[in-house]
């Protein structure tokens, strides 16, 4: 180590050179130079250029690093931004020691001027200097908790200082040569020191701590001790005692470090060795030696989190060693610069090394976890090299699926992973051994970190799937891309453009080649280049979810291109871009070191949120951004997508969505307003602004005068009025102009305005005002405007301008007036020489009374946006005004009426016909031996028979559509060889089944669809008073159920419920339809009508719908003075509850009817008797009287209808003997 020839020139005493130590074989420096350089420079975060760097310190929280230089300067860098924040120059000569205080805004430095300086970096001042060392200060360190500074000096002492009272509290002597380094133990009361006396010493300072730990009372001795800190206390120098002396280096020792948690020590010496020591409570011993440096080793330390040792040396290398095996893991060599010092960030994976021309900050490994996204799943590789998956929708992490422990080298994490959903395989690359890839099939179920079997591997730096059964690997050593099949054999070889660094998936069958300056799209099959785009330094490629766009990420730029590589937009970031992912709507969400940001396709971008740690985005869905952190843990970040959604809506002119956003979120703020204004949407910006002045400006910009007037009134300042006036004038809105002129008391302009609009009355008033004000010019002007000669003459006279007055009078032929003027002047006509008089001025009269209203103005600038605003209000009004069958939507509607299950439904278990062909199985179905030609027809006949037996079906015509529907949906047509008919395949409802004897055909409109779609349609028809439609829908439901199948007994029950629901609705609707079809003119008609309206209330409808029936019945009864019946309906309505509006009406009618509970017309309806309604005649069947039921729907009929077709289903025969509909055959499943 050379010292500077500064004021304190000193040459390090040379220790007699021994025989040079042979570098221990090429193994340790065998690291391929090019790869080494490529790798470490890849991870290099920051490099500074300066003179020789002797000391380095990381700030524990901020991205700062202090560098003390041989040139006496101390630099403070922001290594993330790459900027020099500050320089501190008070030392005289080289500064070797430097350290940040762990919590305070302080740092300490020690230099060749023997001084230790404590600085405050906030005030940017040196607070004080600690003097005492008698030679160069080599290192300075703060104690992790106590207010102590530890310094090591060439004066062979180690000293501890209290920086709070700025005093020396301990001097440790014992080394008999320069002390090159001294460090506190991170947790224990120990110090390690390294000296050129070839020893490392461990000191116990527990005595010192005891002495200085806050005493309860200050004794005299303590005071004495504090007063004389430089001296040994009265019990001898026991504050710090040497615990161990570690001898083993046979040259001077330059550096020593404690392990953060284990009882280990590492030291670096001029003997070019790195030595590892272990200690117990009682002894310490040498464990092993790391050989490799071929020049003096200058510094070394333990990796804060991993079992690694890092060392630097004057051989211009940084070396990484395996702590457990003591073998070299990695090394990096600089061409010219010797390394002097190395430091580790206390928390992050960051290191800094100081060399002859500056400092380099670097990462030891990639922190970007390899990951791949497919649909709802993220596949990623953890720090333990386990493959895991994460389900975005369920927010669940899978257990480890595979262990990739054997991939690459143990210290090198995999770089990329590519997923193939068709084969459920992954392709992993690792940079180890100059790039390897492995193709591994994922196990079906994640059972734990098992070692993969059947692994295909090879040499490549990049590997991606390009098709279902193909992947591409790129090997830069031979500059060749191989397309391989899944058995890892090469099927094709492609020569990529020169200088290709990486390859990416380029859309189906295509690859993207990344070169330092270009990105090239290449079609693998056609073997030709399709497109290329000039983008430099692309590192990552992110495809949009629809595959139409792709984002090319480089260090500081994002370039968005189409799938054919046409550049769409590009943006620049000063902070490093880390990752990106696409929103479903085509917005790119990307992350920098400390922000999540968005970019629209047009390049508009902005910040969404800040990040406290760097993350790698993998997906965005709604308000959630999914990412992996540096520990490869999936994390979910909440974001507010409002801003970019709004901007996107703006770009797409999707005003409805914008409206929605404006209404539902608090989207305000200057940025959005100025954005809108800048983008030419002042009318939209207007919606966000509260501040009157801004509102005024925006209103003027978009020509919204009403708002402008309102704001001008609020502001009421001449400046605003005049601007408003100018704008209004341009619009031709003269009434507003008038108002602004009035506000500004701008009389001249007002007069002219009145003249031009022909408002004589107001012009006269202006003249008055002018007279009143005594403003003659104005008065004259007004008089001219009005053509008021008298007034003009009068005015001339008043201002003694008789000649003019005379002239005027004369010119207008007012002889008398002229003469009187002459008289007044005492002149006669002869005395005046008059110019030739021309015809007098006549003021044209206005033809159109423009002043009465504004000129026709272009329809006020309502943008479609504002229209949407207005439109929505209108729609809401319509809603409120709608009438008819108006009921609040009932949430319970989806729930089927539980009480309507009809007992008459025959139990399916009654079936014992011995036929195990199910009714719905009539669809001919694929079977290897099955020649389907005739099968359909014969089975169809069977099905007819079955339906006849089960439910007494006799009239099949209404079922035809249903049958054909089932048939049409039964098979697909797959075009195969051209010229031949398409291949026919039967659609199955058991999609996972492959045994042709077990597959089952699909039945369209299954129970679920009927319940969730058809039934709701029926209800909607009821609500909407579309009864004919309703009957059709419910009949369709019955027909669909008749030819259907379900998969469980529970569903059979549900189907039965639906059948009875449909029956009740068809019955109710038919009754009401009949009522509507008969007139009420005749007494009979009226009576029947009243009866039917009463029967309408009997079927078991949903409560909300029954209320409608009751309402109708009540009104009809009330209108026909059947108060007693109306009373009954009203009471039932009130008992049912529900919509307040209906109940209110019911209450009113009830009150009225109670006064006179009599029926005027006698009807056949007894509200208190139990009866069913005959579905054919729509007359009551009182309990006990004979009736027949329909075997399918369960509808009741008077006996005379036996044998005819069911009015409800139109299919079955009333009263036919039947076994019951069988929808489910348990044995089949």
């Amino acid at each position: 180590m050379q010292s500077s020839p500064n004021m304190l020139t000193k040459v390090r005493p040379s220790i007699c050179p021994r025989t040079p130590i042979t570098p221990s074989g090429p193994r340790h420096i065998s690291w391929d130079r090019s790869i080494a350089a490529a790798n470490v420079s890849f991870f290099a975060q920051f490099e500074s250029k300066s003179s020789r760097a002797k000391g380095i310190a990381f700030h524990p929280k901020r991205p700062w690093i202090l560098v003390s230089l041989h040139s006496s300067t101390i630099q403070l860098w922001d290594y993330r931004m790459g900027t020099l924040i500050d320089r501190f120059e008070e030392h005289d000569g080289p500064v070797r020691g430097i350290d940040f205080h762990p919590t305070q805004p302080l740092f300490v430095s020690g230099g060749d001027d023997y001084k230790i300086k404590v600085w405050n970096y906030q005030t940017r001042r040196c607070l004080f200097t600690l003097n005492g060392h008698l030679d160069y200060v080599r290192t300075v360190f703060f104690h992790p908790e106590l207010p102590w500074i530890l310094s090591a000096s060439d004066d062979q002492t180690i000293r501890i200082w209290n920086w709070q009272n700025r005093s020396l509290i301990c001097t440790m002597t014992g080394h008999n040569h320069y002390v090159m380094c001294a460090q506190f133990h991170p947790t224990e009361d120990l110090i390690a020191s390294a000296s050129l006396d070839q020893s490392v010493r461990i000191w116990d300072i527990s005595g010192l701590r005891k002495k200085h730990s806050a005493p309860t009372s200050v004794s005299f001795e303590d005071q004495m001790a504090r007063a004389n800190p430089n001296q040994a206390d009265m019990f001898g120098n026991t504050d710090a005692i040497v615990k161990f002396v570690l001898e083993g280096h046979d040259r001077g020792v330059n550096w020593v470090s404690f392990h953060p948690t284990l009882p280990l020590i590492v030291s670096a010496g001029d003997d070019r060795l790195i030595k590892l020591w272990r200690m117990s409570d009682t002894k310490a011993w040498e464990v092993d030696t790391c050989r490799g440096h071929f020049q003096n080793a200058s510094a070394c330390l333990f990796h804060p989190h991993q079992d690694l040792i890092l060392s630097v040396g004057e051989d211009k290398t940084i070396r990484v060693w395996d702590l457990n095996k003591r073998t070299s893991v990695q090394s990096f060599k600089r061409d010219l610069d010797r390394f002097w010092v190395i430091a580790a960030h206390p928390e992050m994976n960051l290191f800094a090394a100081g060399h002859d021309t500056g400092v380099m900050v670097f990462k030891l490994e990639r922190e970007r976890p390899a990951s791949a996204v497919y649909q709802n799943q993220l596949f990623y590789i953890t720090k333990e090299k386990h493959v895991k998956s994460y389900d975005f929708a369920k927010n669940v992490e899978s257990p480890p699926m595979l262990s990739l422990r054997k991939l690459g080298s143990p210290w090198v994490p995999p770089r990329t992973v590519s997923y193939n959903p068709a084969e459920r395989a992954i392709l992993v690359t690792s940079p180890a051994d100059s790039g390897t890839y492995e193709l591994i099939h994922l196990p079906r179920d994640a059972t734990g970190a098992v070692e993969p079997t059947d692994v295909k591997r090879g040499q490549a730096t990049s590997a991606v799937f390009v098709a279902r059964n193909r992947f591409a690997v790129y090997n830069p050593s031979n500059q060749q891309v191989d397309i391989k099949d899944l058995s890892n054999s090469t099927t094709k070889t492609i020569k990529p453009p020169a200088g290709t660094t990486d390859i990416y998936f380029g859309g189906t069958g295509c690859l993207l080649f990344i070169t330092p300056t270009h990105v090239v799209l290449y079609d693998i099959q056609q073997k030709k280049q399709l497109a290329e785009v000039v983008v430099s330094g692309v590192k990552y490629v992110v495809w949009s979810n629809d595959g139409l766009y792709c984002a090319l990420l480089s260090k500081h730029n994002v370039t968005i291109v189409t799938k054919t590589l046409e550049q769409v937009s590009t943006l620049h970031e000063t902070i490093r871009i880390k990752s990106a992912t696409w929103d479903d709507s085509g917005v790119l969400i990307y992350s920098t070191l400390n922000h999540v940001k968005y970019s629209l396709l047009n390049g508009d971008n902005g910040i969404i949120r800040t990040l406290d740690q760097t993350v790698y985005l993998v997906r965005v869905k709604g308000r959630n951004v999914y990412c992996l952190d540096r520990n490869a843990q999936p994390r979910t970040l909440e974001i507010d997508p409002t801003e970019y959604r709004f901007k996107l809506a703006l770009v797409k002119r999707n005003y409805d969505e914008m409206l929605q956003i404006i209404k539902t979120s608090s989207l305000v703020g200057q940025s959005i307003i100025s954005y809108l204004q800048k983008k030419g949407y002042p009318e939209i910006a207007l919606q966000f602004v509260q501040d009157p002045q801004t509102r005024f400006d925006l209103a003027l910009e978009c020509g919204n005068l009403e708002v402008a007037i309102e704001m001008a009134r609020e502001l009421d300042r001449p400046n605003f009025w005049s601007r408003l006036g100018a704008e209004a004038l341009a619009h031709g809105n003269h009434q507003t102009v008038e108002m602004t002129y009035q506000k500004q008391r701008n009389f001249d302009k007002l007069s002219f305005l009145y003249l031009s609009t022909g408002d004589q009355e107001k012009l006269a008033r202006m003249a008055k005002i002018a007279e009143h004000r005594g403003d003659f010019t104005s008065r004259f002007q007004n008089a001219i405007y009005r053509g008021d000669v008298e007034d003009r003459i009068q005015m001339f006279k008043e201002v003694d301008m008789y000649p003019l007055a005379y002239m005027t009078a004369k010119a207008h032929g007012l002889i008398e007036e002229a003469e009187s003027i002459l008289e007044a002047c005492g002149l006669t006509e002869d005395q005046i020489v008059l110019p030739t008089l021309e015809s007098p001025l006549t003021v044209p009269h206005p033809i159109v009374p423009t002043f009465k209203s504004n000129w026709p103005v272009k329809a006020a600038g309502h943008s479609s946006f504002e229209k949407a605003l207005l439109g929505e209000v209108g729609a809401a009004d319509d809603d409120a005004g709608a009438d008819g069958f108006e009921v609040e939507e009932d949430d319970e509607e989806a729930v089927l009426a539980k009480d309507t299950l009809d007992d008459d439904e025959e139990d399916a278990s009654g079936w014992d016909m011995g036929d195990d062909v199910n009714v719905e199985e009539e669809v001919d179905f694929v079977n290897v031996e099955n020649t389907e030609a005739g099968a359909g027809s014969s089975e169809r006949l069977t099905s007819g028979l079955l339906l006849n037996r089960q439910v007494g079906a006799v009239q099949f015509a209404p079922l035809k559509n249903r049958f054909l529907e089932v048939f049409k949906a039964s098979k697909t047509y797959l075009p195969a060889t051209v010229g031949l008919p398409p291949l026919v395949n039967y659609v199955r409802r058991t999609t996972d089944e492959t045994d042709s004897r077990k597959v089952l055909p699909i039945i369209p409109r299954d129970l679920e669809t009927i319940a969730s779609v058809d039934l709701q349609e029926g209800y909607a028809a009821m609500r909407g008073n579309k009864l004919e439609e309703g009957v059709t829908i419910f009949k369709r439901i019955l027909h669909s159920l008749l030819v259907n199948t379900v998969s469980s007994e529970a569903e059979v029950e549900q189907a039965k419920k639906i059948i009875s629901t449909a029956r009740e609705y068809i019955l109710a609707m038919s009754i009401e339809l009949e009522r509507r079809s008969i007139g009420t003119d005749s007494p009979d008609g009226l009576k029947r009508s009243l009866e039917l309206s009463a029967y309408f209330t009997i079927p078991k409808l949903e409560v909300a719908h029954r209320q409608l029936a009751l309402m109708a019945a009540m009104k009809l009864a009330f209108a026909n003075k059947n108060y007693n019946s109306a009373l009954g309906f009203a009471s039932r309505m009130l008992a049912n509850g529900g919509s307040a509006k209906l109940l209110e009406q019911a209450r009113k009618i009830k009150a009225q009817c109670e006064r006179n509970p009599q029926d005027q017309i006698d009807v056949d309806f007894d509200p208190f008797a139990e009866f069913d309604i005959c579905a054919a005649s729509h007359t009551p069947i009182f309990s006990g009287s004979p009736c027949v039921t329909d075997p399918f729907t369960g509808a009741k009929y008077h006996e005379q209808y036996k044998g005819s077709v069911d009015r409800i289903s139109d299919v079955t025969e009333i009263g036919a003997p039947a076994s019951g509909l069988r929808l489910f055959v348990p044995s089949q499943y």
Binding site: P421, R468, T508, K960, N985, T994, I1002
Partner: protein, 294 residues
Amino acid sequence: MDPFSAEGLLNIHNAFHSGQYQNVIDFDTAALSSENQLPARVLKLRSQIALGQTDEVLAAVSSEEDTPDLAATKALAQQAAGKTDAALQLAQDLAENNPDNGSVQVLCGTVLQAQGYNEEALALLSKHQGNLEAVSLVVQIYLQQNRSDLALKEVQTAKRWAQDSLLINLAESWVGLRVGGEKYQSAFYVYEELASGPSTSAPLSIVGQAVAEIHLGRLPEAEAALNAALEKYPSDTELIANSIVLNVLAGKPSEDLESILQQTEPSHALLADIQEKSALFDTAAAKYSPKVSS
């Protein structure tokens, strides 16, 4: 190896089998070697037939019937033009005289199969020497005979020597769609890959993708694919036919599509089947009637 996989013919060959017939016709064959000229020409002619330009094809080959390849093309064109008897006659002659010619095997095999001569078609095709088209045709014939076991065997044999071929992938998908289960998904991947690739996307591949999705029960996805394709190719009959199936499955009205299909191809299997079944239904329904008419 498949004679068509020669570098020069690969692209035109793939374009043909992915259904991009116009691309095949527009293909610049000037750069092809002389021995590849004839196969390329046959492919072009077949594309014309596929697009319905049978008269042009018949005219083009009329003077060159000595070349068996072109004669086979003529047979196919006749078949497509409805001159089935002449086509059959020509095909049978060619099968007898030139059974080793690849084009004859494939084209005449097609003609024979189309006219229901399964066994003869199979016999002719069995003479092929590594002709992938013949293999795929054999697979289709087996499938039409409902012999999916034989079809599967055929595919697996062919896969050993031509795993990468588009035709084998397609044939495997045909079988897969018949077998079902997991094979549906594999077939879907094959078609999806074709449908999404710029150089292979055509109604053929989109229909395949949608059919696979229908079989997988993923109706909304199938609908999206079919609707997008219908916009691009409004008169493709298989697109329409499968859209009808899909609409019925999804409970949507399909009448419009049925009438469109009626216009574009009244003889389509779907319509014919419906008609037949409709008549059968009426016959069957007529056997029942209510005891009392109302």
